[in-house]
Symmetry: C2
Subunit: 195 residues, 2 copies
């Protein structure tokens, strides 16, 4: 959901959503996290920052703060801010039309990220406090990324990720971002406002 | 030139090249610049950092220090370090085979970058100290990027860029990087060691 485009109609269609005060507060917190990570963003980028609550209205548990630097027909680059313990819910990026699925590299810039992908389970995933969503966090091959570490995810691979207790800032380098094509495991999620 | 692959044979083919001491020193200076910019890179990334002198043996004037984060068949992301006044010489990224030309976004993370591209000349370009190369710096539509500012360059557009007097760190988000396809204006330049 692009909150800069929020309308009452969009809110109605995307179900529970956070209010303007919470959005403004989240932008300020995310801006501070970027600054602490040493990443310079402009005032315009902060004002346009997407606060994604995935339609669940539970931002501090399930959510993502996103600065999109560039998203052309070929390449996308973003900064993702995760508050302490905040999780991006499980999803995948399938092929769409004549476009291959999205390929993503996550590079941790600050904090710790717990990334879970398809593959042999190798842990009890970090789901404390996410009991409402546990049924929809199905993959548990864990990759821990500290500052300066990264992982490249192949297209269409199920994944979710969560910040450690100090939050995290992650640079995402990818092919074109088309949020409307993302497939989430949790059927309650609405990523993009419906038309 | 991938200096991690340097061999005596490669040196012979790429003409003048800097020595190992200068390469080691450049890596240390570039690592310090990345740290000052708040960007965390691993020891392995520093050890693999490319010190590109473009075969000219004049690194402090014409050169680039490059950390490649990812370079798949679809997407590339790098950090570019430029020492004070150091310039990346004029070139373009034409289509090659069935691949479109490389599309690049330069995001200045620290310092100041003077980017020159094709288009209406709008300045006397910053060529002080680059007199040996002035004949091959032909485009002079200037775009100045400060920390937090960026520019997306279309494929096959001639461009060169140079750091201001305090140096610069630039994140490059692009399609696949295939250095061997770059076309430089200065015929003396050898970007990649010949086979």
């Amino acid at each position: 959901m692009d909150v800069t485009m929020r309308t009452a109609e969009a809110d109605k269609n995307t179900g529970p959503a956070i209010g303007d005060t919470e959005i403004t507060d989240a932008r300020a917190r995310a801006a501070a996290a970027l600054k602490n990570a040493g990443l310079v963003v402009t005032d315009e980028e902060i004002a346009a920052m997407e606060i994604a609550d995935f339609g669940l209205g539970d931002l501090n548990n399930i959510g993502l703060e996103i600065v999109v630097y560039v998203n052309t027909n070929r390449v996308c680059a973003k900064e993702l801010v995760l508050f302490p313990g905040q999780a991006c819910p499980e999803h995948r990026h399938p092929p769409a039309g004549d476009r291959d699925g999205k390929e993503e590299t996550f590079r941790c810039r600050a904090g710790t990220v717990y990334l879970y992908i398809e593959g042999t389970p190798n842990c009890a995933p970090y789901t404390r406090g996410l009991e409402n969503y546990a049924d929809y966090l199905t993959v548990s091959h864990e990759i821990i990324l500290q500052s300066g570490e990264q992982y490249t995810l192949a297209p269409d691979v199920l994944h979710w990720f969560r910040a450690g207790e100090n939050g995290a800032v992650v640079s995402e380098f990818s092919t074109t971002s088309t949020d409307e094509n993302d497939v989430f495991t949790d059927p309650r999620i609405k990523r993009v406002a419906e038309a």
